[in-house]
C-alpha cells in the first residue's frame, strides 16, 4: 500500500488497489467474496459490516489488536507515527501490523491519515489496553460552571464557551508534563487510588461526585483527584480516569506490557533422527492398529448406538484389543472414520453396526507409508474434537466416540496453526517436556487472542494426538510430519519421507524349541497370512510372536494344508533349523487329523452278513436308493427311513427298524387317532350370559317406556327446544323420571324413560333406563317430554 494521497473512502481505496492487493484481501477475509461483490462500493460496504469485521478481528494477533486498540483510543484517525509512538512495541512490528490491517481493510487511508472502520470502535474498542473514555466525552456530563471551575483550577483561562473549555482541558491533560505536575501534588493515598483505577481499568464508585471543590481546598483523596481532572465524574456515583491521563501514566503507551512478539516456545534440544524414529514408530503403530481393529470389526462389528456413536463398552474392548488407553483407541477410531474407513452399515441380522467400508480394502492394499499419509491427512483436517470422548457433556452425559456433535469449525485451522509453530522451530529442537505445551498455549493465545475458550485444553489434546498419529515424536516435528503440514504435495512428500524410516518387511521367522516363531520385524503380507493360518499370535508390535499349538496346526489342516506343505513352509520361512518338537507336533496332529469322519445320512443299514449288504448295494434296482457302503457291515442312504423301508421290502429284504437307542422296534403299524376336541372355556359362557342380561334389560326398559307413554295429550310437552328444556330443568331439580321421545341416529323416533341429571350446552345428560347407564341426548332431537307415570 504505497498510496501517497489519502483516499476519500474505503471504496476509493479499493478502486486504487492493484489486483494483487484485492486477491490478498479476499484470501484473508474469504467471507467478502461470497457472493461476489458487484463493485468496489459494495465490497467496501460489506467489509465494514459488523459480522464480517468480527470474523476478521478473530484472526488478529495480540499485536494487531493492540494497534487497532491504539487507533481507536487515539480517536479513530491516526498516523502511523502516532501508532508507533503509542503501541508498546518496536516501531517495525507496529508498521508490519499496520500493513496487515490495511491489507485486511480494517484500517484504510494513508500512513499519515489512517482511519479505522467505525465498527471497530464497538467490536474492539479499547478492550486490549483497557483505557477509559476520553476526557472530552467524560466532561460532557459536567455543567458549564463546573467546567469553568475545573479549567480555572488547571490554570486555563476559561473562554466562557463550554465546548471550547472542555477541549482546552482535554488538551491540557494530554500533555504528560501537566499530568506529572498534577500527580506530584496529590498525597500518596490519592496516588494509590489513581494507580489502582488505572491498572485495573475500572471505574471507581464514590459516595457522591457532586462536590464543588477547588484545587486548593480539596482534602479527601478523591476530591484531590477530581479537582485536578485526574479523575472525572461519570455520573453521581462513578468516577473514571480520563484516557489522556491514563496514557500519560503509562508513559505515553497504550499498554504497560510490551506486545511486540509472540511468547517463545519452551524447547529442549533432541536429536532429529531420534525424533523421526519415534514418530515413525508411532506412525507404524497407527497403521497397524487401525488395520488390526478394522479387520476385527469386519468379523465382529460393534453395534452403532441409536444416536450414531460407539458404545463405551465397545470402545473399551477396542482399547484392550490394541493394548492402548481408551482416549488413544478413540483417536484411532475417529481417525479411521475421518479417513472414510468405517461407516455405519447393517450386519447380517440387520442391526446397525460400525463396519469397515470398501475403501478399507483399497486402503489396506497400499504401502504402510501411503496408508499412514491418508490417515494423517484425515486427522489433520478432522473438525471433530475427539479429546472430548470419554468425558461428559454439558448435561453430564458421557460423550461417546463417533457421535455427531463433536464438530468444531475452528479446529482444523487451530490444529494447523499449532503445527505451524513447530514447523518454524529449528530441527533438533523439540517442545520441552512439561513446559512445552504450556508455552505453546501461551503463544497461541498471543496469535489468536479472541479464539475459543476450549483452546488451551484442545492444544494439549492436539499435541498428544499428534504424538499418537506420528506427526510428532518426543515433542518434535518429525520429517514426515513436517512434510505433511508444510509441503506443497503432502500426500506424496510425507509418504516419501516416512518410507525410509519404516521397518523393512522381513521374509523369515526364527523358530524355537518352545514352539514359538518370532518374526523379527513386520512380515511380508503373504507370509504373515500363511503363518497366521497355522500359529496363534501371542504378541504384536514391531515384531510378531507366533505360537504353534495342536489347535492352531489343526486349523491349518482344516483350511486345506497338508502335513508336507506345512513342513515345507516352515522350513522355507525359518532362518534357523526347524526344532524337532515342532516337526513332531505337526506330525502328531496330522496323524490324528481325520481319524474320525463325519457326514450326513438320512438312514443307515447294518448287517453282520457282509454278503447280503454287498448284494443289496449291487442290486441294479437299488440305484434310486442312493446306497453307499461306508464299512463292510454298514450302508447308508440319504433317503428318509419311511421312504426307504417299503423300497427295501420290494427288493426282497426283510429289514428290522432300530430305535435311536439301538433296540429293535416292531414294525407294527400305528393305529391313527384324532385329537379330542377342546372343551369351550367357560369365559364364552359368561359373555353370553351377560349379553342376554343386557338384552333383557333393554326389553324391560322398552316396556317401561311404553307403559309410560302418555295415553292422552295431557302433560306432554311438544314444542320448541325452549319449552322442552324448561321441563327437563324442572325434572332435574325435582329429580323426576321423565319419558322422552327422541330421534336417534338412524332417524327413527324412539322412546326412552330417563332420569335427567343436567341440561347444559344443548345436551341433556340423563340416566337411561334402557341402557342402564348415563347417556347424553341432543335437546333439539327430543320431540316430546312427559313426566313418567310411575
Amino acid at each position: 500500500m504505497a498510496e501517497s494521497s489519502s483516499p476519500r473512502t474505503l471504496a476509493d481505496q479499493f478502486r486504487s488497489w492493484p489486483a494483487a492487493d484485492l486477491v490478498r484481501l479476499l484470501e484473508a477475509r474469504p467471507d467478502l467474496a461470497t457472493p461476489a461483490p458487484q463493485d468496489s462500493a459494495q465490497l467496501a460496504s460489506r467489509a465494514g459490516t459488523r459480522a464480517s469485521v468480527l470474523r476478521a478481528v478473530d484472526r488478529l494477533t495480540a499485536l494487531e489488536l493492540a494497534v487497532v486498540d491504539a487507533a481507536v483510543a487515539l480517536g479513530g484517525t491516526v498516523s502511523l507515527a502516532d501508532l508507533q509512538a503509542h503501541v508498546n512495541a518496536a516501531p517495525g512490528a507496529v508498521k508490519e501490523s499496520t500493513d496487515t490491517l490495511l491489507a485486511m481493510a480494517l484500517l484504510w487511508g494513508s500512513p499519515d491519515e489512517l482511519r479505522t472502520l467505525s465498527v471497530l470502535g464497538e467490536i474492539v474498542g479499547t478492550t486490549v489496553s483497557g483505557l477509559g473514555p476520553s476526557a472530552e466525552s467524560l466532561l460532557a456530563t459536567y455543567g458549564p460552571s463546573r467546567v469553568t471551575a475545573l479549567a480555572r483550577d488547571l490554570g486555563i483561562t476559561p473562554g466562557g464557551e463550554r465546548q471550547r473549555d472542555i477541549a482546552a482541558i482535554a488538551a491540557h491533560l494530554g500533555d504528560p508534563a501537566n499530568v506529572d505536575e498534577l500527580a506530584a501534588e496529590i498525597d500518596p493515598q490519592a496516588r494509590k487510588i489513581l494507580d489502582h483505577l488505572e491498572r485495573e481499568s475500572t471505574e471507581g464508585t464514590v459516595e457522591s461526585t457532586e462536590r464543588a471543590v477547588s484545587r486548593q481546598e480539596a482534602q479527601s483523596p478523591v476530591d484531590q483527584l477530581l479537582a485536578r481532572g485526574l479523575l472525572v465524574a461519570r455520573d453521581r456515583r462513578h468516577v473514571a480516569v480520563p484516557r489522556e491521563v491514563a496514557l500519560c501514566l503509562r508513559g505515553g503507551r497504550t499498554t504497560r506490557a510490551r506486545v511486540d512478539a509472540p511468547p517463545a516456545l519452551a524447547t529442549s534440544p533432541r536429536d532429529q533422527a531420534l525424533v523421526d524414529r519415534t514418530a515413525a514408530g508411532a506412525a507404524f503403530e497407527l497403521v497397524r492398529h487401525i488395520e488390526l481393529l478394522l479387520e476385527h470389526w469386519g468379523t465382529a462389528p460393534p453395534a452403532a448406538l441409536r444416536g450414531g456413536g460407539l458404545g463405551v463398552r465397545e470402545l473399551r474392548a477396542a482399547a484392550e484389543l490394541l493394548h492402548v488407553e481408551e482416549p488413544v483407541a478413540a483417536l484411532h477410531i475417529e481417525t479411521a472414520a475421518a479417513a472414510g474407513l468405517i461407516a455405519v452399515g447393517a450386519t447380517e441380522d440387520a442391526d446397525a453396526a460400525w463396519l469397515p467400508t470398501d475403501g478399507f480394502d483399497i486402503w489396506n492394499a497400499g504401502s504402510v507409508a501411503d496408508r499412514w499419509t491418508r490417515l494423517a491427512l484425515a486427522w489433520l483436517d478432522n473438525p471433530r474434537l475427539t479429546g472430548l470422548v470419554g468425558g461428559r457433556d454439558a448435561n453430564k452425559k458421557p460423550v461417546n466416540a463417533l457421535v455427531p456433535d463433536l464438530e468444531r469449525a475452528w479446529l482444523p485451522e487451530t490444529r494447523r496453526m499449532v503445527l505451524d509453530q513447530l514447523v518454524d522451530l529449528d530441527p533438533n529442537l523439540t517442545l520441552a517436556a512439561g513446559t512445552g505445551t504450556a508455552s505453546l498455549v501461551e503463544r497461541m493465545k498471543w496469535l489468536r487472542p479472541r479464539r475459543p475458550a476450549q483452546r488451551s485444553e484442545a492444544i494439549g489434546w492436539l499435541i498428544s494426538e499428534a504424538a499418537v498419529v506420528g506427526v510428532l515424536g518426543l515433542g518434535g516435528l518429525s520429517v514426515h510430519g513436517r512434510a505433511l503440514v508444510a509441503a506443497e504435495d503432502p500426500k506424496h512428500e510425507a509418504a516419501g519421507a516416512l518410507e525410509p524410516l519404516l521397518p523393512e518387511p522381513v521374509d523369515h521367522v526364527l523358530l524355537q524349541a518352545d514352539l514359538t516363531a518370532v518374526a523379527p520385524g513386520p512380515l511380508a503380507q503373504e507370509l504373515a497370512h500363511d503363518l497366521a493360518a497355522m500359529a496363534d499370535i501371542e504378541s504384536r508390535g514391531g515384531a510378531t510372536v507366533y505360537r504353534f499349538t495342536a489347535t492352531s496346526v489343526r486349523r491349518a489342516f482344516d483350511s486345506g494344508w497338508s502335513a508336507r506343505e506345512i513342513h515345507e513352509f516352515i522350513a522355507a520361512s525359518s532362518r534357523t533349523p526347524v526344532p524337532q518338537p515342532l516337526v513332531y507336533l505337526v506330525d502328531d496332529v496330522a496323524r490324528k487329523f481325520g481319524t474320525v469322519r463325519v457326514g450326513t445320512a438320512e438312514s443307515f443299514l447294518r448287517s453282520d452278513d457282509e454278503v447280503a449288504l454287498a448284494e443289496l448295494v449291487h442290486n441294479p434296482k437299488a440305484g434310486p436308493l442312493r446306497l453307499r457302503r461306508i464299512a463292510p457291515t454298514v450302508v447308508i442312504s440319504d433317503m428318509p427311513l419311511d421312504a426307504l423301508l417299503p423300497r427295501l421290502r420290494e427288493l426282497g429284504t426283510a429289514p428290522v427298524v432300530e430305535a435311536p437307542d439301538g433296540t429293535v422296534r416292531l414294525a407294527r403299524k400305528d393305529a391313527h387317532r384324532a385329537r379330542s376336541p377342546k372343551h369351550r372355556p367357560p369365559v364364552a359362557e359368561a359373555r353370553q350370559t351377560a349379553r342376554i342380561t343386557a338384552t333383557v334389560n333393554a326389553i324391560r326398559a322398552g316396556d317401561q317406556a311404553a307403559a309410560n307413554r302418555p295415553t292422552n295429550e295431557s302433560g306432554i310437552v311438544r314444542g320448541g327446544p325452549m319449552s322442552t328444556m324448561a321441563v327437563l330443568r324442572d325434572s332435574v331439580e325435582a329429580r323426576r323420571t321423565v319419558w322422552i321421545g327422541y330421534v336417534d341416529n338412524h332417524g327413527s323416533t324412539v322412546e326412552r324413560v330417563v332420569d335427567p341429571v343436567k341440561v347444559e350446552g344443548g345436551w341433556l345428560t340423563a340416566y337411561d333406563h334402557r341402557a342402564d347407564d348415563v347417556r347424553s341426548f341432543a335437546i333439539h332431537r327430543i320431540t316430546a317430554v312427559a313426566p313418567a307415570q310411575v
Partner: protein
C-alpha cells in the same frame, strides 16, 4: 531404523535377539527393570511389569534412564503409549513412604495429599492404619508393615520403605574359601540382595544356591533362621554350612519334627513351622526365639501359605529367598515378591551352563506307544484314571530296562510319581527305592552310598525332588511326572546339573505314552525348560537300541 538387538512390543514384552552382537550389553542394561520371562535358543522374552519398574526405581533408576535404554537398544521405534506408561508407572513409586517416626513408631507419609487420601479410603488398607498425625502422615500398626506394603502394591501405590531393618543379634560368620571360591554370579547375587535389603535369588539347581545363602549370612554377620523343605535338606544345609563357613556344629541347630534345637543359626523345616496343635501354630515362637538378623527361605516357590502370613510380621528383618524357578503352581508369585522381596538376581540357565558352572544337559522325550489292548482300556477309562493308566503302562518298563542298560555304569536315577510303578521297576532292576515311607536314616544312607559311587542306580519318588544333593547323578529317567507341574520338571532336571568331573553332559529322559494325557502333561511340563533353552529331543522307544 536402528540396528539394535531389542524389539519392544506394544504388549510390554521385550524381545532380545541373542545372536546379535550387542545382545550381552543389552541384557545387562535391561536386567534392572525387565523380568526375564523366557529364554529359548534365539530370542529371549523380557516383560515390563509395574513391579519390575518399581524395583528399578527402588534401585535408583529413573524413568528417563529406562526409556533411554529402550530407545538405545530398540531396533524399531518404541510404541509411544508404552513410553508414557513407563513414565507414569514409575512416577507412582515413592509417593508414599514408610518411615520411622521418633515418637509414633512406623508411619506412612506422603507429600502428595490426594494420593494419601486415596490410599486412606481404600477398603483393604484402612484397617492397617492408625491415628492420623497430620495432613501428610498416618500411623501404621507395626505388625502390618508387610501386609500394608502388599496391599499398597495391589492398589498401585507402592510405598518406599525407609523404615530400615533391624540388625539382629550379631554373630560372626565367615566364609572359609579354602580350595573353592565364590563364583562371579554368586557374588553378584549376594551383592544385589544386600543392596536391595530383602529379596529372592533365582538360580538353576546345582548352581550353588546354598553357598549364596551362606555368603548372605556371612554378609549379615548375625543370627540366622533358615527355613527348608524337609529334614534331609536341613541336614545337607548343616553339612554345607560347616564345610563352607566358620560355623561349627554347635552353632547350628536343627528344629524339626525330632529335634528342637535353637542355636545362633537354626534350620527349621516348613513342615514343623506349619504344624498346628488345637488350631494354633505350635512353633510360631521360633520366629521370636532369638533376635534373628536374617531369615533364609530355601525353595521359596514351595513356601506354604501360613508362612506367608508369618512373614508379613517379619518385615523388619532381612529376608532372602532362594529358588530355581519362581513359578508357583498356585500362581502366588506376587505374594512372594511383596512379602519376601522382589527378585534380586536371575540368570538364564544356559548362561551359567556356558560358563561351566552347571553341566550341560541333553533332554530326551522317549515316546512309547500303548499296545492295542491298553489303548482300549485307556480309551474307555474314567477321566481321572486315565493319567495313571497312561503313566504306568507296562511298555515303559521295557524302555526303562533298555535305558538303564544303555547307561550301565553311570549314576542313574529313575524318578516316578506312582509308588506301585516304582516298586515294580525297582524289583525288575534290583535297585533300592526311596519313597515317602523310607526313614530319614535309610534315605541318608542310600543317598550317601549313591554319592560315593557304591550304588549307581536309585529309584526315587517325588521326595527326591528338592534340596537333595546328588552331585554325581548323570542320568535321570522320569517315568511319570506329577501332572503338568513345570517347576517339578525343572527340579528333576536340576538333580543332574551339578558339573561332572569329566565334563560329561547329563541325560534326562522323560518316558511318555504317545497320544494320551501323559503326553499332553509332559508337553506342559516341558514348556518351562524349553523356555529356559532346554530343547527336548523326541525319540521313539523303538529307536533306543538303534541309537546305541
Amino acid at each position: 531404523m536402528n540396528n539394535g538387538p531389542l524389539i519392544v512390543q506394544s504388549d510390554k514384552t521385550l524381545l532380545l535377539e541373542i545372536d546379535h552382537e550387542r545382545a550381552q550389553d543389552c541384557r545387562k542394561a535391561i536386567a534392572p527393570f525387565a523380568e526375564l520371562e523366557r529364554s529359548p535358543e534365539h530370542v529371549h522374552t523380557y516383560r515390563l511389569t509395574p513391579l519390575g519398574l518399581w524395583n528399578a526405581r527402588a534401585a535408583g533408576h529413573d524413568a528417563e534412564q529406562v526409556i533411554d535404554t529402550l530407545l538405545a537398544y530398540s531396533r524399531y521405534s518404541v510404541p509411544h503409549a508404552l513410553l508414557v506408561d513407563i513414565a507414569e508407572t514409575m512416577a507412582r513409586y515413592g509417593r508414599l513412604r514408610l518411615e520411622k517416626h521418633p515418637t509414633h513408631g512406623l508411619v506412612l507419609s506422603s507429600s502428595d495429599r490426594p494420593v494419601l487420601e486415596e490410599v486412606l479410603r481404600a477398603k483393604k488398607v484402612k484397617p492397617m492404619l492408625g491415628e492420623r498425625l497430620d495432613d501428610e502422615a498416618v500411623v501404621v500398626h507395626p505388625s502390618e508393615r508387610g501386609n500394608l506394603k502388599q496391599a499398597l502394591l495391589k492398589i498401585g501405590w507402592p510405598a518406599e520403605d525407609f523404615a530400615g531393618y533391624v540388625d539382629g543379634e550379631a554373630h560372626a560368620i565367615d566364609l572359609t574359601e579354602d580350595g573353592w571360591e565364590l563364583r562371579g554370579y554368586q557374588r553378584e547375587a549376594v551383592e544385589s540382595f544386600w543392596h536391595g535389603g530383602s529379596g529372592v535369588v533365582v538360580l538353576p539347581c546345582g548352581a550353588g544356591k546354598t553357598i549364596v545363602g551362606a555368603a548372605a549370612m556371612a554378609q549379615a554377620g548375625a543370627t540366622t533362621l533358615i527355613l527348608v523343605t524337609n529334614t534331609v535338606s536341613a541336614r545337607q544345609w548343616k553339612e554345607e554350612l560347616i564345610r563352607r563357613t566358620s560355623l561349627t556344629e554347635d552353632e547350628i541347630g536343627e528344629y524339626s519334627g525330632t529335634k528342637k534345637e535353637i542355636r545362633p543359626v537354626t534350620i527349621a523345616t516348613y513342615q514343623v513351622m506349619t504344624t498346628r496343635r488345637k488350631g494354633v501354630y505350635a512353633h510360631l515362637e521360633l520366629f521370636d526365639a532369638r533376635d534373628w538378623g536374617l531369615v533364609v527361605y530355601d525353595e521359596v516357590h514351595l513356601l506354604p501359605a501360613p508362612i506367608f502370613r508369618m512373614t508379613a510380621d517379619l518385615q523388619a528383618r532381612r529376608r532372602i529367598g532362594l529358588t530355581a524357578t519362581l513359578i508357583r503352581e498356585d500362581g502366588r508369585e506376587g505374594d512372594v515378591f511383596s512379602l519376601i522381596g522382589p527378585k534380586r538376581y536371575d540368570a538364564p540357565w544356559k548362561d551359567i551352563e556356558s560358563q561351566g558352572w552347571i553341566a550341560p544337559a541333553d533332554c530326551v522325550e522317549v515316546r512309547v506307544t500303548l499296545p492295542e489292548s491298553e489303548r482300549f482300556v485307556y480309551a474307555t477309562a474314567e477321566p481321572d484314571e486315565r493319567y495313571r493308566l497312561a503313566s504306568c503302562t507296562g511298555v515303559k518298563n521295557t524302555v526303562v530296562d533298555q535305558l538303564v542298560a544303555k547307561h550301565r555304569g553311570e549314576p542313574t536315577l529313575v524318578i516316578g510319581q506312582y509308588i506301585d510303578q516304582l516298586d515294580e521297576i525297582a524289583e525288575r532292576l534290583d535297585a533300592p527305592v526311596i519313597k515317602g515311607e523310607t526313614t530319614v536314616k535309610e534315605r541318608e544312607r542310600l543317598f550317601n552310598a549313591f554319592r560315593h559311587g557304591e550304588i549307581d542306580l536309585l529309584v526315587v519318588s517325588k521326595v527326591a525332588n528338592f534340596s537333595v544333593d546328588l552331585p554325581s547323578a548323570a542320568v535321570a529317567i522320569q517315568i511319570s511326572g506329577s501332572f503338568g507341574s513345570r517347576q517339578e520338571e525343572a527340579q528333576r532336571l536340576g538333580r543332574l546339573l551339578r558339573p561332572k568331573e569329566d565334563g560329561r553332559s547329563a541325560r534326562f529322559y522323560a518316558v511318555v505314552a504317545r497320544d494320551t494325557v501323559d503326553a499332553d502333561f509332559a508337553q506342559h511340563r516341558q514348556r518351562f525348560l524349553a523356555e529356559q533353552g532346554y530343547a527336548y529331543r523326541i525319540m521313539d522307544a523303538a529307536d533306543i537300541t538303534a541309537e546305541s
